[in-house]
Amino acid sequence: MKKEIDDGLLRDPLCVVNVGLEGFAADLEAQGLTVTQVDWTPPAGGDARLADILSKLGT
């Protein structure tokens, strides 16, 4: 099924929100785009054991 793309998306100036590697945001900024980098890290800094405990305890 073909999905229609809003051609305004690419015609108007892009405002990008980046979640994850800051390098993606830096590359886009270097091309003059407005980028907001989300300050995000994996739960428990990526420690699998602690993340498992957190998932069981719930927050």
């Binding site: 890290t41 739960p43 405990i53 957190l54 069981k56 305890l57 719930g58």
Partner: protein, 416 residues
């Protein structure tokens, strides 16, 4: 888990229901169980002489001379290293103390009663800034000031407070927040409010005009006078929050200059410790980071109840004093701490943040999940004994304390 959410609601409910009142100043040995000869209460989790930092050792030797247990500092150090003194944390005795936190039998301690739950807590009288015992100072000037606090101000405050029937602290702190205090490194507003509350009773009960004049001048000249009252208040608020089964709210954060310790409601009085961190801050003229001792003191009890670094947004002035940045940065510290707390305090609000209540009830799950360690405003002591305060700054609680606590808490609720 629903059980945890309910337990944490109970914990924060007890914090918010607390009714702390400054009721008296008494001799420590008369009210603290087991505080006898050669017993020294100190800040932070338990520690032995061999592991103590320079300013802690300086304060230990100074207080030993003050109490008459040693003729001089050198003899006191020999006695300490030979095991002549018994060291215990203030927190094990319903007490708290700033920086080195020396509490011994003949010192005057302020008494805060939590009238909602009936418990009492104790803290010595603030000595002022600079070369003072809480920062490791121990020379004749420091000891003379302690004697004056013991012989003149302490007894006078006790008589005056008993005459007032007690000074409620919750409303006073609420006003202080609107005056730019965060109750850790800035207590200008609350110290002034306390002087206003105390002065008439001091004047009414005094029989010695010279002593009255000196007492009023000391309180009025000490911008941090209220700090020790805020700390006793914090202890009085948090003690009834201990031992709530299933609650992962932090009940104490404290440091002895070597290790940082936290306690969590659901895991009782067990300490979870890690090496203390070095504050980042601003130094008094002539001193640098090379002179600084790592983080120290029981004063983090104020962050535990949502003040200090957690209320930085109320105090743009302190952000400058501790080198934490701009007013916007101060607001961000408070908003960030709201991400690791169970709720906010509707009675302690920050006008500049649209009356946001201070972040209340540190949840160890949120700390570990977000990686956002509690932020603390602190004084900085010289690393050598006998020098005193050299600056002020901001420091974080070590994440390792919260990670250990999380594992132990999980076991306590049956989640391995």
């Amino acid at each position: 888990m629903e059980r945890i959410e309910q337990a944490n609601e109970e914990a924060v409910g007890r914090m918010l229901a607390a009714d702390p009142v400054l009721i008296d100043v008494v001799t420590a040995g008369d009210v603290i169980d087991g505080l006898g000869e050669k017993v020294i209460l100190h800040a932070g989790p338990p520690i032995d002489w061999a592991d103590m930092c320079g300013p802690m050792r300086g304060a230990i030797t100074g207080i030993a001379v003050f109490e008459g247990w040693a003729p001089d500092l050198e003899a006191a150090e020999e006695m300490a290293s030979a095991g002549a003194f018994e060291f215990r944390p203030n927190h094990h005795a319903s007490a708290v103390g700033p920086m080195t936190g020396m509490t011994t039998l003949s010192q005057p301690v302020m008494v805060v009663e939590n009238r909602k739950y009936g418990n009492r807590s104790y803290c010595t009288v603030n000595e002022g800034l600079g070369k003072v015992m809480r920062f490791g100072g121990n020379d004749a000037e420091v000891l003379d000031r302690l004697r004056w606090l013991r012989d003149v101000l302490g007894p006078a405050m006790g008589v005056a407070l008993r005459d007032t029937g007690g000074i409620p602290l919750k409303s006073l702190v609420a006003r202080g927040l609107t005056m730019g205090d965060e109750m850790h490194q800035r207590n200008v507003g609350c110290s002034g409010l306390m002087l206003r509350a105390l002065a008439p009773a001091l004047a009414k009960t005094s029989t010695d005009t010279k002593a009255l004049s000196e007492s009023l001048a000391f309180i009025g000249g000490n911008d941090q006078f209220f700090l020790n009252i805020a700390m006793a208040m914090g202890k009085a608020i948090m003690d009834p929050v201990r031992d709530i089964d299933g609650s992962c709210v932090v009940t104490a954060m404290s440091r002895n200059g070597t290790t940082f310790g936290i306690r969590v409601s659901g895991t009782g009085d067990r300490w979870f410790t890690a090496p203390v961190e070095m504050p980042e801050g601003l130094y008094f003229p002539g001193f640098t980071e090379a002179d600084a001792n790592p983080d120290m003191g029981d004063s983090t009890i104020v962050e535990t109840i949502g003040l200090g670094g957690f209320a930085m947004g109320a105090s743009p002035a302190v952000a400058g004093f501790v080198g934490a940045g701009t007013a916007a940065d101060a607001a961000n510290y408070t908003r960030t701490m709201a991400e690791i707390t169970v709720g906010e305090n509707p009675e302690w609000t920050i006008p500049a943040l649209d009356y946001l209540g201070v972040p209340t009830g540190i949840d160890i799950r949120l700390v570990v999940e977000t990686g956002l360690a509690p932020v603390i405003n602190t004084g900085i002591a010289h690393r050598e004994p006998g020098v005193g305060q050299v600056g002020a700054g901001v420091v974080r609680a070590p994440m390792a304390c919260f990670e250990q606590a999380l594992v132990a808490f999980a076991e306590s609720v049956g989640v391995a």
